[in-house]
């Protein structure tokens, strides 16, 4: 492989919003403001179509198994089934429908498991701590927890993981 052909996320392990937008993986601004919607951060041609089957709305499609997923933003209701089932843990749900805050839904496969109401550490794509956020919803599917946290609006496209410090959970 020649370096010039290698996208920067293959060097850093961090994908930028611009790169995702170019691949058609970022919903338009007005859709984001309407309510929860899936952001599929899956820029490579992986032979996998679990997300297609995972979506009860039929909003995710792939022509060939190796294609990058296509999301029909109008069909997507932000249910986060795909967040729970994506083997690459590469799908998130962002909700920008409220004026003063945002909600981000991320997969979580660590211990301890937080409770609704707990404040957890918010992490960016590069592991940077972005403050703390309150857990508003949490559910589980085959040991992957799907956690929705309340975050400041300007962090909605940045927060992509949570970390629960031992003793931090009120559990």
């Amino acid at each position: 492989m020649i370096m010039g052909e290698v996208p920067s996320y293959r060097v850093t392990g961090v994908v930028s919003i611009d790169e995702l937008r170019k691949l058609g993986l970022i919903p338009p601004e007005e859709r984001l403001r309407k309510g929860p919607v899936s952001i599929v951060e899956c820029p490579e041609m992986i032979p996998c179509n679990i997300c297609v089957d995972a979506c009860p709305q039929g909003a995710i499609t792939k022509d060939r198994i190796i294609d990058i997923p296509r999301i029909n933003w109008d069909k997507c209701i932000g249910c986060a089934n795909c967040v729970a089932l994506c083997p690459g843990l590469a799908i998130f749900v962002v909700d920008l429908s409220k004026e003063d805050r945002a909600y981000v839904t991320v997969p979580y496969e660590f211990l301890p498991v937080p409770n609704v109401g707990d404040y957890v550490v918010l992490l960016g794509r590069n592991g940077r701590r972005l403050g703390k956020g309150r857990v508003v919803k949490i559910w589980e599917r085959n040991r992957t927890w799907v956690v929705t946290v309340e975050v400041p609006r300007d962090l909605a496209m940045e927060v992509r993981a949570i970390w629960v410090e031992r003793g931090e959970s009120t559990q």
């Binding site: 370096m3 293959r10 392990g13 032979p47 179509n49 089957d53 198994i65 083997p87 992490l123 592991g127």
Partner: protein, 500 residues
Amino acid sequence: MPPSKFVKDRRIWEHPIITFSRGRKVKFYFEGQEVEAYEGESIAVALYAIGIDVFSWSRKLLRPRGAFCMVGKCSSCFMVVNGIPNRRTCIEPVRDGIKVERQRGLAPIPTEIPKYPEHPEEVIKTDVLVVGGGPAGLLAAITAAEYGLEVLLVNEHFKLGGQLVKQTHKFFGSKELFGGLRGFQIAEVLRNRIRELKNIRVLLQTTAYGIFRDGWVGLVGQDRVYRVKPRAVIVATGACEQYLPFPGNDLPGVMGAGGAQTLMNEYGVRPGDVALVVGSGNVGLIVSYQLLQAGIRVEAVLEIMPYIGGWFVHAAKIRRYGVPILTRHTVKEVWGSDRVEGATIVRVDDKFNPIPGTERDISCDLVLLAVGLAPDTRLFAQAGAIMRWVPELGGLVPLRTPYLETSIPNLYVAGDASGIEEATTAMIEGEIAGLSTALSMGSANSKAEERREYLLKFLWNEYRASPLLARARSGKEKATVSVDEMNILRKKYPPLTSFG
């Protein structure tokens, strides 16, 4: 009971993905001292769990050797068990009362004569012999058995499932290909299917040691040997982890990435506290994430190339938790006395030469090598199958037709032994090989033929069509010849044996 001098407990009792259901307690003797383990653990795992880092001492320089592959492929866990030297303790289960001793240099010849069973030898005639109980072998056995063939499945380990049993991540693929399930869950599904099929006989802890003239295969089990006369053989022996040369690479604590997975994901034993991972292919990235899940700190993942080797999504999973992936970096040296205490890493230039002055020391007790795998193709080479050196596939592999038959008639290859890819393609190849045996024996119908064509088309035209899999795809192309080409080669280099 006197207080044990082995006070460490490296067992993991709480894990986000796996529930470790440990068997009853077992007591055995380690160098005269009574130690405890849990039924279902291997001897090496049980010793590692109580803090034994040194498994043996090298033969000439008596350097300490520790856990490395943990799947019966290397020799660092050789110990004396009940007087018998050179036992692979990583694939030998603990039993009550056994006596285990480490080896310093060459072991003495055993003096105790083992008790032989009444029938130390058995001759077996079967339709299909499957060697290897990993994803490829299990699919091959299931498929052949579903078409009514008598199947003998032999596995070196005391458990079926191969490397699936230590994969805690969810697999890519489609639902039909077990995608979305975690590796150990796929192993469970396949094991249950094997149990249902009454025409599969399973021999565990049994090694196929050689292929002989006139289509005979020799097996050696725990208390007997077998002479097998199969009509077809499918060899799915998997792969061995590659080594990397650097000073200190033999110190206990330098481990294959798969060895660490065996410890922490199969047996629930912490391989260390602070890790450095060498190699950012999928194995390196996935094992790093699994280390974090087991509560182990990962200082960095090193990658000698200027870009990450594995899928971006696997890299993103560890980057989100702050693990740095250092491209253009390699390990220069590892130090410690009886266990890794740290490593020096270094930047490399465009020609992969270390750049002086860029060295950095990292404190760690675990250095995991995830620098590739080599197909385990010893049986093919021994049988005289036509081999080809294919670097894209990890080394020497048998030449095969699209239906996975080698130059030895009715000897098939499937899975990583056919060239390194991953578990999903191994399962597809296993099924193709199983279908091929059924078709060649006339026990299959046109449905089997259609299924095989569908799988071949899917594998070559869809699955391997991803540009990121181009290297493996081109490797598999180099190792594959048409049936006509194979027949020409067979005339030129007549097979030394054949099945049928």
